[in-house]
């Protein structure tokens, strides 16, 4: 935030545009959602005057070469190793994002096990340790609502990379990585439990945290948090998911 605002004086043209609001990143990047209004209140009249504001929420977009540091080396080695296996890297790696000193490879889901095995076994890559799966639900990102994020650590080369795979809500299937990284057994069960992502090839994909007969997938954005209003000093305090949100 401060880095973006810190350089140069005020720029009237730029400062008037909605993209210059705090927490915005301009026009580049991947749009995940369109946000209307400013203060999250949509049940009353537009008293603030900000109700007509339309912003697109964008995540950092694809980076161009050179990525910097050892990122290029890893990307080169990965692309080379994929070519050796008769694959076209452009078909496998959807895009590469470099942001905040981290590199993310967005992988087409059918190639995930191949890429993971390559990353683990290639001596120049050697990502021995997988730190599990983290699911993310982007309901506004049509056709790619469900994301599975993997962080791979190479102890040999002392590196950390991120793999990201997406699947549409209508077909929530992603190949399992348990055969490559057995540690993902519980992590994939957890992500299935919370997001309903079906990891094809997992030896026993069952719920792990929620009761076995639970209905629904609690960490999805359309699943309510729940809670009841509480009275405090005569006022009704709504449940946390009913309160005003500024996001």
């Amino acid at each position: 935030m401060s880095a973006a605002n810190g350089n140069g004086g005020p720029n009237p043209e730029k400062d008037l545009s909605a993209s210059n609001l705090p927490g915005q990143r301009g026009d580049g990047g991947e749009e995940i959602r369109v946000q209307r209004g400013m203060f999250g209140a949509d049940k009353s009249g537009d008293t603030s005057g900000y109700g007509g504001l339309v912003r697109s929420i964008r995540l950092p977009g694809p980076a161009t070469r050179p990525y910097g540091g050892w990122f290029d080396e890893v990307a080169d080695e990965l692309e080379g190793a994929l070519e050796e296996q008769g694959l076209v890297p452009e078909n496998v790696i959807d895009r590469t994002v470099v942001d905040r000193g981290e590199i993310t490879f967005h992988i087409e889901r059918e190639f995930l096990p191949t890429v993971a095995r390559t990353l683990r076994d290639d001596p120049a890559l050697r990502f021995e340790l997988c730190t599990g799966v983290s699911g993310v639900h982007y309901p506004g990102d049509k056709g790619r609502e469900l994301h599975a994020v993997y962080h791979l650590r190479s102890i040999t080369h002392n590196r950390l990379i991120r793999l990201e795979v997406s699947a549409p809500d209508a077909d929530p299937h992603i190949p399992s990585l348990v055969a490559v990284y057995p540690t993902n057994d519980w992590h994939e069960r957890e992500t299935y439990d919370f997001y309903g992502i079906v990891f094809d090839g997992h030896p026993a994909l069952t719920r792990i945290m929620m009761p076995d007969d639970w209905q629904g997938f609690p960490q999805r954005k359309d699943y309510p948090l729940g809670g009841i209003p509480v009275e405090y000093k005569g006022a009704q305090i709504p449940a946390p998911d009913q309160r005003r949100s500024y996001s």
């Binding site: 599990g132 540690t183 792990i208 609690p218 996001s247």
Partner: protein, 440 residues
């Protein structure tokens, strides 16, 4: 009489006995009458030796465990979901409750990830970083002490338990002095700390270090060379390096397999590269090795704590950026800790802008630019990773904790299968799982 303790019940899976204690003879007797020795024992989720609400499902053939599985989720409280409905700062209040024995690691890892998203890693004041390291290392001591204490208790060595909790109490007193709470501190905040060290804290920590240096050898005298202790621990819970890598085990489990992997050395954060300490390893791959590693790590933590105390210089403990820094200047009043009177006088009496700013930052919170970040710290149990995603709002879009207990607990089956029932207890204790972190 026989129905009083262990009531048999016929199910489609066979006879089920509900055991409530003191009736093992009856169960053994009834089981002996059936044609084979194979029984399935549900140990937990409420059992004194399973480290909280962990359920172990053991298939037993005589005294041998042929198959072992974990049932978890009994302490799932939906913290990750809850975080999506609070501001970024309120998040620390939740994450500190995950692995409740390592609150400062949870808070630091979370704050490092948020600071990475904000791009303010370089602006965190030195004093805040040093106090973070100081608290984390004290926390490593208290976590290892609980591990050794409860591990000893589960072996029947109650003296170790008493010693461990005695020493942990000294550390909790320090926490209480500094943060006001023995657990669940929410003291480390995005951008720095909630407040500075109170007067007398440094002296009390110095006093503690002196005392702890005297107390630590007692564990050696009591346990390290003790033949019964060694007989129970050695070659139990065996897990070699290949298994550790495949199952993602980190922390003392990985280091007991001989690999000196420690994120404080490999990927230093909070300035760990400037501290002088060693990473102990063992080559035994067993519970005894992990015990020795934890003991040595406590000595190393004391070294780091001393270095932290020597480095402390007066200064701010929160970033300068007023758009991020929590505006509350906390002070101790007659009704407990709260906004300082000076601050209230200023915002209520002299500056309307300061009042608006305070109100906005406290109710709405600060915005974090869209994107994702991963921060990892070396917790006493292994790699504690935090994956945070922001959509540019004042609340996290997604926070995922890669808790080391969760991952390490997967190794239980590999450690226990083929061993004795009694060794399951030792192996689980050497994993040191904390269910608050496992289930979140």
């Amino acid at each position: 009489m026989s129905t009083q303790h262990a009531t048999p019940r016929e199910t489609t899976e066979g006879t089920v006995y509900t055991v409530t204690g003191g009736d093992w003879d009856e169960v053994a007797e009834t089981a002996a009458r059936s044609d084979d020795e194979r029984i399935i024992v549900n140990m937990g989720p409420q059992h004194p030796s399973t480290h909280g609400v962990l359920r172990l499902i053991l298939e037993i053939d005589g005294e041998t465990v042929t198959e072992a599985r974990c049932g978890i989720g009994y302490l799932h409280t939906g913290i990750e979901k809850n975080l999506e409905y609070r501001t970024w700062t309120q998040g620390t209040t939740f994450v500190t409750r995950m692995d409740y024995l390592t609150p400062f690691f949870n808070e630091t890892a979370y704050c490092l990830a948020v600071e990475k998203l904000l791009g303010i890693e370089d602006q965190i004041p030195d004093r805040a970083t040093i106090i973070r390291v100081l608290l984390m290392e004290l926390n490593r001591l208290s976590s290892h002490l609980v591990c050794i204490a409860t591990g000893g208790m589960e072996l029947g060595a109650t003296t170790i338990m008493i010693y461990g909790f005695r020493d942990r109490e000294l550390i909790l007193d320090i926490y209480e002095l500094i943060t006001g709470l023995r657990m669940n501190h929410a003291y480390i905040r995005p951008g720095g700390l909630a407040q500075d060290l109170p007067p007398g804290a440094v002296d009390q920590i110095r006093e503690f270090v002196k005392k702890m240096k005297k107390n630590l050898p007692e564990y050696d005298k009591l346990a390290t060379g003790n033949p019964i202790f060694k007989a129970r621990m050695q070659d139990v819970g065996y897990l070699d390096l290949a298994c550790c890598m495949a199952l993602g085990a980190t922390g003392p489990i990985l280091r007991s397999a001989g690999l000196p992997h420690d994120l404080r050395k490999a990927q230093p954060y909070c300035g760990y590269e400037t501290y002088d300490f060693d990473v102990p390893t063992a080559d035994t791959c067993d519970s005894y090795g992990r015990f020795l590693i934890r003991l040595e790590e406590m000595r190393q933590s004391l070294r780091i704590v001393e270095q932290c105390l020597d480095r402390l210089q007066p200064g701010p403990v929160m970033v300068d950026d007023k758009k991020i820094a929590w505006p509350a200047q906390l002070a101790l009043g007659p009704d407990g800790l709260g906004n300082s009177l000076d601050h209230i006088k200023k915002i209520m009496g002299t500056s309307m802008e300061a009042l608006i700013h305070h109100f906005k930052l406290v109710t709405e919170g600060f915005r974090v630019p869209p994107g994702q970040a991963y921060a990892a710290v070396e917790s006493p149990k292994g790699e504690l990773g935090v994956h945070v995603v922001s959509d540019g709002g004042t609340r996290p879009f997604r926070v995922h904790f890669r808790d080391p207990s969760f991952t390490n607990l997967q190794t239980m089956a590999a450690m226990c299968e083929g061993g004795q029932v009694a060794d399951v207890i030792v192996a689980v204790a050497s994993i040191d799982p904390v269910m608050g972190g496992v289930d979140r």
